[in-house]
Symmetry: C2
Subunit: 349 residues, 2 copies
């Protein structure tokens, strides 16, 4: 028996309002998209290890598994989404090249993926981005266009370049292909934790615009429905945590600062929030000093270089914002592109 | 037709003097020993990744593959040999425990392996060992007995404890089981490079007493006979390089210093030199400033924390002591247990 369209719409909407939203906005990524992304990335992205330290386990009284995305191409997870996106462009679009705005990690991911796929890249990057991130971007042959975080409208600059030069915009998070690409880290977490016979209670993921946590949550909820996924944000940039709490997209108050330069997105994305409100158990928030302590712990116990924004998930566990005692938790170390001065500050030298 | 014993001795000795030596001293480890060690370590040691950086490749004009043993249990390769050795002790010997002397990495490897295998451990360690190494050793429940590098005889102290307490001595390198354990890193290098379709011209390995390079050379020469294996030592501690050159075991001149605290062995081991003189293409030597530069390069391009002694192989490539241009070279990053102050010095902060 067929329902009239309007009734069917109501049933669908009541059952799952997100599905409805995906009919009007670009469709939300699903598990099959993440699997297809993994096929595209095979042999190009690093299958980063899931590391464990007895000392960290003892510190928290539980089991902490660290997904070392700092070892990914370009030193952060961003290569995954960028490669998944750019590899699907037509030959004509690749020929015209890509453009992106980014504080640095997405910039490097786009620059590397474009380079490997034979496309030129132009990156709109804040003038105060860490030197290591600008150098990493230029290494891959991308042209950097600096902007002022306060005065300039980076999205307008990016759109202008795209129109003038026919370039495809590679968004940092609010794109189904980007989210599906980042989600491949979640597939690996599942396979690696299963191989280690770990029953994971929660997965904690650093969050700026929400693309990484959204993508990972798709893989986790499909394969481990009972496992909780949390986003972790810096104090002052807890837009996703508050949005999840209130059920509507909330921005950050102006003027906030953080050492986590990679996680300063102004508000949750449209698509990312649609996925995250469905999949996430909540949002955790950490302070700068807690990130620095986590970076020092990773130096001592994991031998991994983690940048402030990449260390928020580990910080949430070490600072007790997530109660890991007696539990098994995966934390994603999402990036390691940090300047020596900031790193020295973390080590106290 | 049988030869009289003396004639047979002569023929054997002429054909291969090493084989003869193995008849009187403890037998030298062979490829089958390394395979058996890998079986024992499965599920206990980390299968550390073989990492590559486009930036490092560009710097040297070749392909550099980095075996990240800093990600091994205890932050260095030493866990491999220690676990292989202690796991073969009888229940009675495990009950009586083990004793070892070490500047710190072997100490932690022995302490961790003993802990996991239910044996108590006592470690004779230089009083000036990096704090991170002493802390790592004590974390695993081992008792640390400090000694003075100049005044005390660490081997005599170790032997005394072994006799008095019935403990088994776990030597840092001159033991077939230790060498076979370290050699499992070589098996992994072969499998990982083959999977990456890399035809490896040379494998460069940090060298103190020669156990790691000896063990790895057994795996490499069995599987890739044409690939050259080099040991890399700090300036002032180039005993193995000179011994290989002159064909006889040479010690280091007294009073030399280096920041590579892990590579200050006084002379090649008996067994290690017997293996290394047969398998190695030669020895390379690097200065302290070259190690610091390699540590900074690993920070920037690999996101790995490497200690000075662990960075000598990468340093040899970056400083041009091995001509990597147009070649594919594996460098082993053997350890990452470095104090913040020394690390800050490498980063220039």
């Amino acid at each position: 028996m067929d329902f009239p369209a309007s009734v069917e719409w109501c049933i669908r909407a009541c059952r799952n309002p997100i599905e409805e939203q995906s009919m009007t906005s670009p469709s939300l990524p699903v598990y099959a998209d993440v699997l297809r992304a993994a096929e595209r990335l095979r042999g190009h992205a690093v299958l980063t290890p899931l590391l464990e330290s007895a000392a960290l386990n003892k510190l928290v009284g539980g089991r902490v598994l660290v997904k070392a995305e700092v070892l990914q191409v370009t030193g952060s997870f961003k290569f995954r989404g960028a490669y998944n996106k750019i590899s699907q462009l037509s030959p004509e679009d690749r020929e015209r090249g890509v453009v992106a705005f980014s504080s640095g990690n997405h910039a490097q991911g786009v620059a590397a993926a474009a380079n490997l796929l034979g496309a030129s890249a132009k990156i709109v990057m804040p003038a105060d981005a860490p030197a290591v991130k600008r150098a990493g971007t230029e290494f891959w042959g991308a042209a950097v266009v600096p902007y002022d975080r306060v005065k300039d409208d980076r999205e307008a600059m990016t759109t202008g370049i795209a129109k003038a030069e026919g370039r495809t915009i590679v968004r940092p998070y609010d794109d189904p292909d980007i989210m599906a690409g980042q989600g491949t880290a979640g597939l690996e977490i599942v396979a690696q934790a299963d191989a280690a016979r770990a029953r994971v209670d929660a997965v904690l993921v650093p969050c700026g615009g929400g693309g990484l946590v959204g993508g990972i949550s798709i893989a986790i909820k499909e394969r481990w429905p009972a496992t909780e996924v949390y986003c972790v944000e810096p104090d002052g940039f807890d837009d996703t945590a508050r949005s999840l709490k209130y059920g509507t997209r909330e921005g950050n108050r102006p003027g906030a600062t953080t050492i986590a330069d990679a996680l300063m997105a102004p508000a949750p994305g449209d698509l990312t929030f649609a996925v995250n409100r469905r999949n996430l158990a909540g949002g955790l928030v950490v302070r700068d000093d807690e990130m620095l302590a986590a970076m020092a712990a990773a130096f001592q116990h994991l031998k991994l270089v983690i940048e402030p924004g990449g260390a928020v998930a580990l910080a949430a566990v070490l600072a007790g914002h997530y109660p890991a005692k007696g539990r098994t938790v995966v934390v994603v170390a999402s990036g390691g592109n940090v300047d020596p001065a900031t790193y020295g500050r973390a080590l106290g030298v």
